[in-house]
C-alpha cells in the first residue's frame, strides 16, 4: 500500500507546505496539528488538495521515532485504498442522525475480512461515538481505532477537522479499505490484573459525570486505599502504577482516575457502569510488553506500509518520567513508517479506554 508521511514546522501555511512536500493527489489526508494551527492547516490542505478527503485532530505527534508538539504532520493515502470520510456532529446529543450517511459509506466501501478500518478522532462523548460507529460496522469486518483530542488551549473547546472545516462536539472519521493487503489493529496494555487482585463490584455510579461512587457498597477510595496500601490523598498520583480496569474474559479495559472526591468517589476519564467488575491493576514490565507487541505486529503483518497509533497522554507522561518515551517511539519506528498521536482517550473496536496504546497497521 502506498503511503506518504511528512512533517513541517513554523506557521500553519509554512508547516503545511513543508509537510506536504512531495505529496500528490492523495485520496485521503490525515493530519495532526497544534490547537492554534488546526483550523488554518485544515483550510490550507483543502485549498491545496480540493479533491482529497481529509480529517485532522490536535495533539502531540509522533513521526518515525521523533515527537513534537508544535509541528504539523501529514499522512497521505492514495488510490490503492478505498476511502470514505465524514464527520459526526453533536456527539454529545444525538450522533445517531449521522447513521444513514455512515451506513451508505460502509456499503460503498465493500469491506472484506481484515482489509478495512475506521479511523476516528473525536472531541468528547467517546462512548456515544463508539456505540454509533460500532453499531454500523458490526458484522462488516471493519475494525475501529480512534483517539480523543488532547491539547486544547486553556478555556477553549477541543477541535477536530474534516474537509477543511473544524468542529467542536464532533467526531471525524475515515473508513479505509486496503486493496493491496490486510489491515490489522492492535491494543496494548502495560497494566495487568495481578494474581492477587480481587474483583470488586461497582455498586453506585454516576455515568453522566463518569463518577464511580462505591465498590462493594464501600467508598471507592476506601476500597482502593485498603487494597493497594496507599493513603487516599495519594490515589491520583498513583494512577501511573495502579489504574483501575474492567476485565471481560482475558481482556483488560483501563479507566484512569481523574480525581478523588471528599466522600471517596472517583471521577474518571472513562465511564464505569453499575455492576461492572473492577480490578485494581498493576504495572507490568512495560519494556518486555512493548517488545512483545512489536514481535506480535511483525509476526502478524508481513510487509508493513504504515502504522498509525494512539498513545494515551498518561502513557506519554509515564514514559517521559521513566525516560523511556524516546526509546519507545524509536522502537516503534523500527517496524516501519510510524505516525502517532497522543490522545486523551483511546477507542478500540467496541470500547473507549484509557492508558492504552491502540494502532492500525497497514500491509
Amino acid at each position: 500500500m502506498k503511503t506518504f508521511i511528512g512533517s513541517g514546522i513554523g506557521g500553519a501555511s509554512t508547516a503545511v507546505e513543508n509537510a506536504t512536500s512531495g505529496l500528490y493527489l492523495p485520496s485521503l489526508i490525515i493530519f495532526y496539528a497544534p490547537y492554534d494551527k488546526l483550523a488554518e492547516a485544515a483550510s490550507e490542505l483543502k485549498r491545496k488538495y480540493p479533491q482529497s478527503q481529509s480529517i485532522g485532530v490536535i495533539g502531540t505527534k509522533v513521526i518515525n521515532g521523533t515527537s513534537n508538539d508544535n509541528g504539523i504532520v501529514v499522512v497521505g493515502f492514495f488510490d490503492d485504498v478505498r476511502v470514505q470520510a465524514g464527520v459526526i456532529k453533536n456527539v454529545s446529543k444525538c450522533p445517531a442522525v449521522a447513521i444513514p450517511g455512515i451506513l451508505n459509506q460502509i456499503a460503498f466501501l465493500k469491506s472484506g475480512e481484515e482489509d478495512s478500518v475506521c479511523i476516528e478522532y473525536c472531541t468528547n462523548n467517546e462512548e456515544n461515538v463508539v456505540t454509533i460507529l460500532n453499531s454500523c460496522i458490526n458484522g462488516t469486518g471493519i475494525k475501529l481505532v480512534g483517539a480523543t483530542a488532547f491539547g486544547t488551549a486553556e478555556g477553549e473547546k477541543p477541535l477536530v477537522a474534516f474537509n477543511g472545516e473544524v468542529y467542536e462536539d464532533a467526531c471525524v472519521y475515515a473508513f479505509v479499505k486496503n486493496n493491496t493487503g490486510r489491515v490489522k489493529v492492535f491494543k496494548e496494555n502495560i497494566y495487568k490484573k495481578g494474581k492477587d487482585s480481587k474483583p470488586h463490584c461497582a455498586t453506585s455510579v454516576d455515568t453522566a459525570a463518569r463518577v464511580l461512587k462505591t465498590l462493594d457498597d464501600k467508598a471507592a477510595a476506601d476500597v482502593y486505599s485498603t487494597e493497594i496500601g496507599i493513603p487516599k490523598g495519594k490515589i491520583v498520583d498513583n494512577v501511573f502504577k495502579n489504574p483501575i480496569g474492567r476485565v471481560v474474559d482475558d481482556e483488560v479495559f483501563i479507566t484512569s482516575i481523574k480525581d478523588v472526591y471528599p466522600g471517596g468517589a472517583f471521577e474518571n476519564y472513562k465511564r464505569i457502569n453499575r455492576n461492572d467488575c473492577i480490578y485494581f491493576l498493576e504495572l507490568g514490565d512495560y519494556r518486555s510488553i512493548e517488545e512483545e507487541t512489536r514481535t506480535l505486529i511483525n509476526e502478524s503483518v508481513q510487509h508493513i506500509s504504515l502504522i498509525l497509533s494512539v498513545d494515551c497522554i498518561y502513557r506519554y507522561l509515564f514514559y517521559q518520567q521513566e525516560d523511556y518515551f524516546d526509546t519507545y517511539i524509536k522502537d516503534m519506528a523500527s517496524l516501519g513508517k510510524h505516525v502517532g498521536i497522543i490522545g486523551g482517550g483511546e477507542q478500540f473496536n467496541n470500547q473507549h479506554v484509557n492508558q492504552t496504546m491502540v494502532c492500525v497497521v497497514f500491509e
Binding site: 453533536n90 446529543k93 444525538c94 450522533p95 445517531a96 442522525v97 449521522a98 447513521i99 444513514p100 450517511g101 462512548e127 456515544n128 456505540t131 454509533i132 460500532n134 453499531s135 474483583p199 463490584c201 455515568t207 474492567r246 476485565v247 471481560v248 474474559d249 465511564r271 457502569n273 453499575r274 455492576n275 461492572d276 467488575c277 467496541n350 470500547q351
Partner: protein, 319 residues
C-alpha cells in the same frame, strides 16, 4: 365487490417535512431496531448467566459434600488420636515400670558384682590354700618316701641282725651293733613321723581353712545365685514390661498407621476440595466478568436511548 383503495397522493409539504426529518426518523427506527437486537443479545447472555449460576450451585453443592466428607474423616482421626492418647498413657505407665524395674536391675547388678567380687576373693584364697595344701602333700610325699627308705633299711638291718645272731650264738656282739643301728633307725623314724605329724597338722589346718573358704565361697555363691535369681526375676519383669511396651507400641503404631491413612485420605480430599473451591471461586469471578460484559451491552443501549429525546426535540424543531 372490491372497493378501490383511496390513494391520496402525499402533498408536497408532507414530502418536504418528511425529507427534513428523514435522518431523525431513520435514526429513531434504527435505535429501536438496535435496542431490539441488543435485548435479544442480553437474553442470550442471561441464559448463559443462568447456566453459569447452575454450575456455581452444582459446584458449591459438591464442595459442601466434600466438606462433610472431610469433616467425617477429621472426626475419625480425632477419635484415633484420643485412642492413641489413652494408649500413650498406658505406654507411659509401662515405661515408668520399665524404668523402675531397670533401676532395680541396676541395683541388683551392683550387688551381684559385689558378691561376685567376694567370690573371686574367696577363690583366690582357696587357690592359695590349695597351693599350700599341695606343698604340704609334696612334703608328706617326700617324708613318706624317706620313711619307706628307712623302713627298707630297717628291714635289711633286721635281716642282717638275724643272720649275725644266728652265727654268734654266744657272741652276739654283732647283734648289739645291729641293735644299735635299729635304734638309730627308730629315732630316724620317730623324727620322720614327727615331721609327718607336723605336716599332717599343717594339712589339717589348711584343710580347715580350705573348708572354711569353701564354705564362704559357697555362701558367696549362694548369695550370687540369689542375686542372679533376683536379677532373672527382674529381667523377667523387664521382659514382661517390654512385652507390655511392645504391645502398647504396636497398638500405638496401629492407631498411628490408621490415622496416617486417614490423614492421607483427608489430604487428598482437601486437595480435591481446594480444586473444587478454586473452581467455585473461578466460576464466581467469571460470573462477575459476565456482568461486565452485559454492562457493555447496557452501555450501548443506554447510549442509544439517550439520543431519543434530543432526536425528538430536533424533529419538533424542524416541524
Amino acid at each position: 365487490m372490491f372497493k378501490k383503495k383511496d390513494k391520496t397522493p402525499q402533498s408536497s409539504q408532507e414530502v418536504v417535512v418528511k425529507d427534513k426529518i428523514a435522518d431523525e426518523l431513520f435514526a429513531i427506527k434504527y435505535i429501536n431496531q438496535y435496542i431490539g437486537e441488543k435485548k435479544e443479545e442480553l437474553i442470550d447472555e442471561e441464559m448463559t448467566t443462568i447456566s453459569e449460576i447452575s454450575k456455581v450451585s452444582d459446584a458449591y453443592n459438591i464442595s459442601v459434600e466434600k466438606s462433610n466428607a472431610i469433616n467425617a474423616d477429621i472426626e475419625e482421626v480425632s477419635k484415633g488420636f484420643v485412642h492413641a492418647g489413652a494408649v500413650s498413657e498406658n505406654f507411659n505407665d509401662v515405661v515408668e515400670k520399665v524404668i523402675s524395674v531397670s533401676d532395680n536391675a541396676a541395683d541388683a547388678a551392683v550387688d551381684l558384682k559385689r558378691d561376685s567380687d567376694r567370690v573371686a576373693e574367696q577363690f583366690e584364697q582357696m587357690q592359695q590354700v590349695y597351693e599350700d595344701f599341695n606343698e604340704s602333700i609334696d612334703e608328706i610325699n617326700a617324708v613318706t618316701g624317706n620313711i619307706i627308705t628307712v623302713a627298707n633299711q630297717t628291714n635289711l638291718l633286721a635281716l642282717n641282725a638275724s643272720i649275725e645272731a644266728a652265727r654268734a650264738g654266744e657272741q652276739g656282739k654283732g647283734f648289739a651293733v645291729v641293735a644299735g643301728e635299729v635304734t638309730k633307725l627308730s629315732f630316724d623314724i620317730k623324727e620322720l613321723v614327727a615331721k609327718v605329724n607336723v605336716c599332717m597338722n599343717r594339712i589339717q589346718r589348711s584343710s580347715r581353712l580350705l573348708a572354711d573358704s569353701l564354705e564362704d565361697a559357697n555362701e558367696a555363691l549362694n548369695g550370687s545365685k540369689k542375686q542372679i535369681t533376683k536379677i532373672n526375676g527382674i529381667i523377667d519383669g523387664i521382659r514382661d514390661s517390654i512385652s507390655g511396651v511392645s504391645d502398647s507400641r504396636e497398638e500405638i503404631q496401629n492407631v498411628v498407621s490408621k490415622c496416617s491413612e486417614q490423614i492421607e485420605g483427608i489430604k487428598a480430599e482437601m486437595t480435591d476440595y481446594q480444586s473444587q473451591f478454586d473452581f467455585v471461586v473461578k466460576l464466581s469471578e467469571d460470573m462477575k466478568r459476565m456482568l461486565t460484559k452485559k454492562s457493555f451491552m447496557f452501555e450501548d443501549i443506554s447510549n442509544m436511548l439517550e439520543q431519543v429525546d434530543p432526536l425528538v426535540a430536533q424533529i419538533e424543531e424542524k416541524l
